[in-house]
Symmetry: C2
Subunit: 355 residues, 2 copies
């Protein structure tokens, strides 16, 4: 874990800060540690993340070794665990005490995320994922599809233990995810896609799990409705920013850091943020490549160069920073604590990351 987080942070800062100041969270009247200054947000929840890892390993055990192998291929294959971290930090920021509850929710969120990745790779016929052969390529369509179902089921086993609100929010997040996928499919290679359409896709497809994980954290910590709503807004906006940065990295990132080739969105005809901005700017190379059912590598290369040469990337970065800023605004209303700082640092890390 620590190696992973070190990579994510670029620098290594894993030690939990000893004896932080204690303040009382106004929402829940519980004592929680407070500290000014930023540090690795992953290090604030090292123990909790370890419990999530143990849960994940237990969850993917199956009578059928193939299912376990496929799940492990992805679960143990270098995921950043950003969603669990958001969930755990939101819970701790509002003074949550029943750690095992939030660990189960964080596990469910990561399992759902992994299930969708398996199914996404089938849909996109992806060759690689996280720097290695995709499960779809390695294990075939049938086994990968079933393994995705298996992980969805396991996720619901974790989330289903809680009250109706938790079940409803989790199911809603998953339904949004599927609806985001469908909407994205509708705009595949579709030149008429607008920035509003894009934000709606991303809100459903990527931000749904962030926002639900975050608000479940606050809810299970006993925060009041206003605080839960603010946490939801934090997750929503940071989730949108997260996807926007992903989209930018698909244009300007480095293959070695990304673990996959660049230009995938152009190749697959997915309307990403830079692509939409380039379409709007009527960049011919991008318009043609985006609409072409099977663009050549030369055409993709030319379109990438066109996007990189202009102001598109700066525009995209500026838009993503706007959403990050919205996420930070929500945090300001949280009670000051080490964990609030963690949520804040996380937004900066997400915006500034290289992969």
């Amino acid at each position: 874990m620590s190696r992973l987080h070190g990579v994510f942070l670029i620098r290594e800062t894993k030690t939990k800060v000893a004896n932080p100041t204690v303040v009382v969270a106004p929402e829940t009247r519980r004592k929680i540690p407070a500290l000014e200054g930023s540090s690795d947000p992953f290090s604030f929840v090292t123990d909790e993340l370890q419990l999530v890892e143990e849960n994940l390993i237990r969850a993917i055990r199956s009578r059928e070794q193939t299912l376990t192998d496929i799940a492990a291929h992805l679960i143990c294959g270098g995921g950043k665990r950003v969603r669990p971290v958001v969930t755990l930090l939101a819970f701790l920021a509002f003074g949550g005490k029943r750690i095992h509850d939030i660990v189960d929710i964080a596990t469910a969120i990561e399992l759902i995320h992994t299930a969708t990745l398996l199914h996404d790779d089938i849909i996109d016929r992806a060759e690689t994922r996280r720097g290695k052969e995709s499960a779809y390529r390695k294990f075939g369509l049938k086994n990968t599809l079933v393994a995705g179902d298996f992980l969805f089921i396991k996720a619901f086993e974790f989330a289903g233990k809680f009250d109706e609100t938790v079940v409803e929010w989790t199911a809603d997040a998953c339904a949004l995810l599927t609806e985001g996928e469908t909407l994205q499919g509708y705009f595949n290679r579709n030149r008429n896609v607008t920035l509003d359409d894009y934000v709606e896709i991303v809100r459903r497809k990527t931000a749904s799990l962030f926002q639900t994980g975050a608000k479940l954290g606050a809810y299970l910590a006993g925060a009041n409705a206003t605080a839960v709503e603010e946490t939801h807004r934090y997750g929503l906006n940071m989730g949108i920013a997260f996807q926007m940065v992903d989209d930018i990295l698909d244009i300007v990132g480095h293959v070695e850091l990304l673990g996959k080739p660049t230009g995938m969105d152009l190749r697959d005809g997915n309307p990403s943020l830079p692509i939409i901005l380039a379409l709007k700017a009527e960049q011919t190379a991008v318009c043609e490549t985006f609409q072409c059912p099977q663009p050549t590598e030369a055409s993709i290369g030319a379109a990438l160069d066109t996007i990189k040469s202009g102001a598109i990337i700066q525009q995209a970065k500026s838009i993503s920073r706007g959403y990050a800023e919205e996420a930070l605004k929500s945090i300001r209303k949280f009670p000051p604590s080490l964990y609030r700082n963690g949520l804040k640092t996380l937004v900066h890390l997400i915006i500034d990351r290289d992969f």
Copy 2:
């Protein structure tokens, strides 16, 4: 609904029997209607099935019309609703009162079943389902895959409202389903498959939802542990019998009644009961066709003729009747009632059906 059940029963017997004798169920000490003699088991739960239908229609509403269309294509496309009926009858046989609870569970079971059909059609690249174009053919891989996920999620929204036992059993049933799919994949076109392997596949793949629906019915009615276990055994054995009859109909059924061509298991290399018996009897035409990656229609026709000409179908029917008999044994231990009779008649209907 009534038309559908009439078809299922061949004859039309839909009216609910008025003023049945009342006996006290020893398990729950509640008064339940009792009646000797068999009648259409679907007619005993007409009102409850109507509520399931309403639930299903509500459940498949999505912000994305495509998801609703795909779900409706299958949900409104002539399913027999055998699993909901088993669940409802088991609940009522043990004097269950909170009808809306069991209606929600029956809905969840049917949604899970439908989700797996959507995913199965992708895996088998099925052309048809229930007499019309399969969702996979009509809506494509991506949308069908996502719609399957959507239905899984909706199912868990229904089941997730209940206690941990309900959630655990439902998730276990789904996990078994996926494990059955994987195991079946392992034995695809694999000549070494045995009758034991087959029963294990069917136990997981088909019987799991029947057994779980049935035992959830008894459990939510407040039946004791022994009664719940017996209901589980009923569902298990009737589920195995159900699949065996499906397998037989794939050889000897009529295209018009089945709504799909015969010989699909030979075409897809799925180890069905008659195929396994034919492999054991070393019927050359069957061995060759079953192992061939892309068998010709002539080869499938010859293999079907070989299976039909010998004693294989009689053997298969005898084995399926053995499981049906086991299911009936469990029923004898239930308190006598109209609903117990319904569960009994259902077994006979399943064994004697033409589609």
